[in-house]
Amino acid sequence: MMFLEHKYTIDTLVNKCKAGERKAQEMLYKQFAAKMLGVCMRYATDRMEAEDMLQNGFIRVFQKMNDYRGEGSFEGWVRRIMVHSSIEYYRKHHKMMQAVDMDEVDEPSVNPMAMANLDAKDLIALIQQLAPGYRMVFNLYAIEGYSHKEIGEIMNITEGASKSQLSRARTILKEQVLKTSNKSYGNAG
């Protein structure tokens, strides 16, 4: 089984998936499922939501397989679909926070060293605590690398709204990081 899986490259698997081979679909899914669930976890409130996003995302991956022309990495293509699937999920299930009060709040300054102790799970937990709109924008901008213009298009908001939401998201996250690091510092001392 393992031998078989190693025998196929991603390209051959993709071609087989285009031909509608179920076995190839499963192998491709196994290849990317864990990594893509890691992506979805950032957009979701919890693991269950993340798995729903992953499921919808992969259904779309296999349905749109013929749209992949080999331009760019396949993983990047799948990842983009997962992101869009996650955003769509939130459009359906959550009320997006459109209005953002742009109160000029003093952003807390966070010492990068304070974040060194936080691992991926801690950061995911922080992101998941954000309001859905903030979470989406922060993910898209800070981690996926989308521009505000792109985020505005994806989320159907203005560029300014994207900027303000990102700013708000960062402030909240920094506060949370400080709290967490203070807690751990306090516990250590």
């Binding site: 179920r22 679909q25 499963e26 899914y29 499922a33 864990a34 990594k35 669930l37 890691g38 976890m41 950032r42 693991r47 993340a50 798995e51 992953l54 499921q55 919808n56 992969f58 259904i59 296999f62 349905q63 952003e107 300054s109 966070v110 990068p112 974040m115 936080l118 691992d119 991926a120 950061l123 995911i124 992101i127 922060f138 901008y141 800070a142 981690i143 690398g145 960062r170 996250l173 920094k174």
Partner: protein, 251 residues
């Protein structure tokens, strides 16, 4: 400030970029369902269709084979009635036997009385056994003549008649010749003519006419419905045979 934000974002990005979580098995199942690849979804309707086809075929087989099995015996019966000599006696055996047994019973009843007497006589006068050998010779040809007459109707009759004859043979021997022969012959003559005369009755009543019509259709001994042929003007139902339910009024 901006650098700080960038740095902040990068920490998240670098730490979460390789973040992996193994999904539960339900996700792949859900994907299959979503793609319509699921074996259950594809196979179950096919199974349903296959099952319904099998049920229909099975029902068809049961229905048609039942018809065939019903038809075959009817054909045999008809053949048996029309050409008794040609058909296998094993098949016909059932009905003729019954009638013959009843007929022979009539003979037996009449004969039984002398039989007992004969037996006692035989015991007492065992010396007269020599006569026995003469008497059967007289009786047997007569019986055989009767038997040969009946062979045209049924082979079975022949055998049975001979049997009754042999029974009767023993009875008349000792007592007297005349009653013995009479007893033996008279009922035997009546035997073959026992059923036909009923048909030959003249039509006196509406019931008689119905009996004839029914007899033409229903070949069984006990007809679907039988009317009395003894009453003068009025016809009364004397027998009903609906297969399961049989009612017969003894006259």
């Amino acid at each position: 400030m901006e650098m700080q934000d960038k740095e902040f974002d990068n920490i998240f990005s670098s730490k979460l970029n390789d973040f992996e979580v193994e999904p539960s098995k339900a996700v792949w199942q859900g994907i299959n369902d979503g793609l319509g690849n699921n074996n259950r979804k594809k196979v179950l309707p096919l199974l349903g269709i296959a099952a319904s086809i099998i049920v229909l075929i099975a029902a068809g087989i049961v229905f048609f084979t039942q018809k065939v099995t019903v038809v075959k015996p009817r054909v045999k019966n008809r053949v048996a009635v029309n050409h008794p000599a040609k058909t296998a006696p094993a098949v016909i055996a059932v009905k003729p036997h019954n009638t013959i047994i009843q007929q022979s019973a009539i003979a037996a009843n009449t004969v039984i009385k002398p039989k007992h007497l004969v037996k006692s006589n035989i015991e007492n006068k065992s010396a007269k056994y020599g006569v026995i050998t003469q008497q059967p010779i007289i009786v047997q040809p007569r019986q055989q003549v009767l038997a040969s007459a009946t062979t045209t109707k049924n082979d079975m009759v022949k055998h049975v008649v001979i049997d009754t004859a042999s029974m009767i043979v023993a009875t008349p021997v000792v007592k007297t010749d005349k009653p013995a022969t009479l007893v033996a012959v008279v009922p035997d003559k009546e035997k073959p003519t026992d059923t036909p005369p009923v048909k030959k009755h003249r039509i006196h009543t509406f019931g008689d006419m119905l009996n004839i019509v029914i007899a033409a259709v229903d070949k069984r001994k006990d007809k679907v419905i039988e009317f009395s042929n003894t009453d003068g003007d009025e016809s009364t139902i004397t027998g009903v045979n609906l297969g399961i339910i049989k009612i017969k009024k003894e006259n």
